[in-house]
């Protein structure tokens, strides 16, 4: 049963990725990106990363994508005739050839490596969220705190950038 689900999720996510790049209307691109994110969550479930799948749905599809759609509809972009760089279109063929080569190498690789302690059975005994939480607040505490500071900086930066300038600032500025 798993290969069928994998084939479905993989095919739909790749198709949605291609549509995100190729569609003309930016809102349609956003909807295609939504399909991509949802099916990526399905792939995460197949890989026994249930917590990550939920985070993907809530944060990516629920917050980030809605932010994109808000900005798209706020700006009211016109659909353009020339929506591709024509000059760079030739590079796609080279990129395609490189991708085929890369896929041949990747599919033929053997993927050895040192196994860790968190086997699927061991993780399922305590639950995926519990295992991730314990690891994140013990071994990965410093990266967690750094990400918190990073997000604070991003919030402050976004507010400062997007704030409507007051008249005094416009007059006093050296524009």
């Amino acid at each position: 049963m798993t290969p069928i689900f994998f084939a479905y999720f993989a095919l739909v996510s790749v198709a949605a990725g291609v549509l995100t790049v190729a569609l003309r209307n930016p809102v349609h691109c956003g909807i295609a990106l939504l399909a991509l994110l949802g099916h990526m969550a399905g792939l995460f479930v197949l890989l026994h990363a249930e917590f990550l799948a939920v985070v993907q749905i809530i944060i990516y599809a629920g917050a980030i994508l809605i932010l994109y759609l808000f900005v798209l509809m706020l700006l009211n972009l016109k659909t353009e005739e020339r929506y591709f760089h024509r000059r760079y279109a030739w590079y796609i063929m080279g990129v395609g050839a490189l991708t085929v080569e890369l896929l041949l190498v990747l599919l033929a690789s053997r993927y050895g490596g040192m196994k860790g302690p968190a086997t699927t059975k061991a993780v399922e005994a305590v639950g995926n969220s519990t295992a991730i939480g314990i690891l994140m607040f013990s071994d990965y505490l410093l990266p967690f705190e750094i990400v918190g500071v990073f997000l604070l900086g991003a919030i402050v930066g976004a507010i400062v950038l997007a704030k409507t300038p007051t008249p005094s600032e416009v007059r006093g500025g050296d524009r």
């Binding site: 798993t2 993989a10 996510s13 790749v14 990725g17 995100t20 790049v21 930016p26 956003g30 990106l33 991509l36 990526m40 792939l43 995460f44 890989l47 026994h48 990363a49 917590f51 990550l52 985070v55 990516y60 917050a63 980030i64 932010l67 994109y68 900005v71 798209l72 706020l74 700006l75 972009l77 990129v95 991708t99 890369l102 896929l103 990747l106 599919l107 690789s109 993927y111 490596g113 196994k115 860790g116 302690p117 968190a118 086997t119 699927t120 993780v123 295992a131 991730i132 994140m136 990965y140 990266p143 990400v147 997000l151 900086g153 991003a154 919030i155 930066g157 976004a158 950038l161 997007a162």
Partner: protein
């Protein structure tokens, strides 16, 4: 049982799709969406190897990648709003001045 090579292949295809999108699209917002596709491909790679190697480190790194993607989207969209409000441009190839 799906081999890990299949997952890695899907993630490579997604990454290349996002890369092509970043290179060929002109609309700034869509370029940011293509960056999201690339980040998703990287996430899938991390989670696939986390499953393959029986380690949770990949999943935790993937969570951090999602957090950084959220910050990138917020700041990038704020920059887009500023650029659009100044009636400069909405296409990446028209934004060629850093300070005006």
């Amino acid at each position: 049982m799906v081999p890990i090579g299949a997952y890695v292949a899907v993630s490579a295809i997604l990454f290349v799709t996002g890369l092509v999108g970043v290179l060929v699209r002109r609309n700034f917002i869509i370029v940011l969406m293509c960056v999201e596709i690339m980040l998703n491909g990287a996430n899938l790679n991390l989670v696939a190897f986390a499953h393959h190697l029986d380690s949770l480190a990949g999943q935790i790194m993937s969570l951090f990648v999602i957090a950084i993607a959220a910050g990138e989207a917020a700041v990038g969209l704020a920059i887009i709003i500023v650029v659009f409000r100044g009636k400069i441009a909405t296409n990446v190839d028209q934004i060629n001045l850093l300070k005006w």
